[in-house]
Symmetry: C3
Subunit: 145 residues, 3 copies
């Protein structure tokens, strides 16, 4: 890639990451799934589901089911992107996520901090998420009456 | 626009958005007003004011009055910018805002999450905010003794 | 600098800032110190240490000592970078920081908001932090049993 091509790829990946969390929080599951490659692997639901999820459709369907009664805010912060080739890149993106829901008549919340660790691939001319994982700095949970 | 020109426009709009919230929280009202076109329309004070505000001067004056006794933090996160022409663009920018003030001897706070939805225009060689709206994911309020 | 060179410098400085807070929160002190010039001046520990710190090694060593028993999250938001020459730039970067630790058997926390104010220099072909200061919008502290 030329320097200019890399700058354009960097912008496209940044927009992809921003679109992913906007679709997630607005529950636009088609838009959310479309940020992943059809053979993408997601590790971040592993604790809940017991195995990695494969492909944008499955990742979106399981995520939609997990979050259907929850209000969520996923905030990403400026991160780091490293290009491994013209069609492959790695990224580390800081995340803060907040989830609110009701359980047994109580208001419950989760507030987490960590880093997304992604592999991106350019497939048919578009950058997509190929691998998705999350490492945590801290998670707090609580409930109010 | 060439690819390079679009990259430069993207950077200029990002800086504009960062300057707007810095001026807002540091109560630099001249700097805040200068991020809007002279005929910009802002919808985000509509609930409080009852009508859209028009122009950087009016938007800044009304916002200054509303926030004069409040400490505020407005945080924007990486978002999406789409160019409609050489001089017009749309943007979606995640926002988290926190306001603290005193009311009837109590400390009151508001903590909100949502997205700014902007139209930008390039006027006399500089990108400015032409339309400003805010959609909400969640707002929490509270008070401490 | 050409427009393209400035875009590349802007990306490099953004990555530097992201790497700095990631290393800080993951307690990678070698990586953290390497984001500063060897004669960098940091003002942000002045309240605790009583004098500015000088050089990446000292800044990292003192910061490591101060934070060794604390969980921290330092979040930066999109900011402003202004180039003063081909090898010197100024930046204003919004910060939110959260620290959690134990003191006298209680869980204590600090939650702050403000702006990093940096001078960057390009030294031996790489952009580094040359001066580091922090201005505050608000700091809250508290404790839980």
């Amino acid at each position: 890639m030329t320097a200019l091509e890399e700058l354009l790829a960097r912008e496209e990946i940044r927009s992809l990451l921003a679109r992913r969390v906007r679709c997630l929080d607005e529950k636009d599951w088609a838009g959310f799934g479309a940020t992943y490659a059809s053979d993408a692997i997601s590790h971040s639901q592993q604790a809940a589901v017991g195995k990695p999820l494969v492909g944008g459709d499955e990742i979106a369907a399981i995520t939609a089911e997990m979050l259907k009664d929850r209000t969520t805010v996923h905030q990403i912060h400026p991160g780091e992107i490293t290009f491994l080739s013209d069609t492959r890149a790695e990224g580390i993106t800081p995340l803060e996520d907040m989830l609110w829901w009701e359980q047994d008549g109580r208001k419950v919340w989760l507030h987490g901090y960590g880093h997304y660790r992604h592999v991106f691939e350019k497939i048919d001319g578009r950058w997509l998420i190929k691998e998705h994982a999350l490492s945590r700095l801290k998670v707090e949970t609580g409930a109010t009456a």
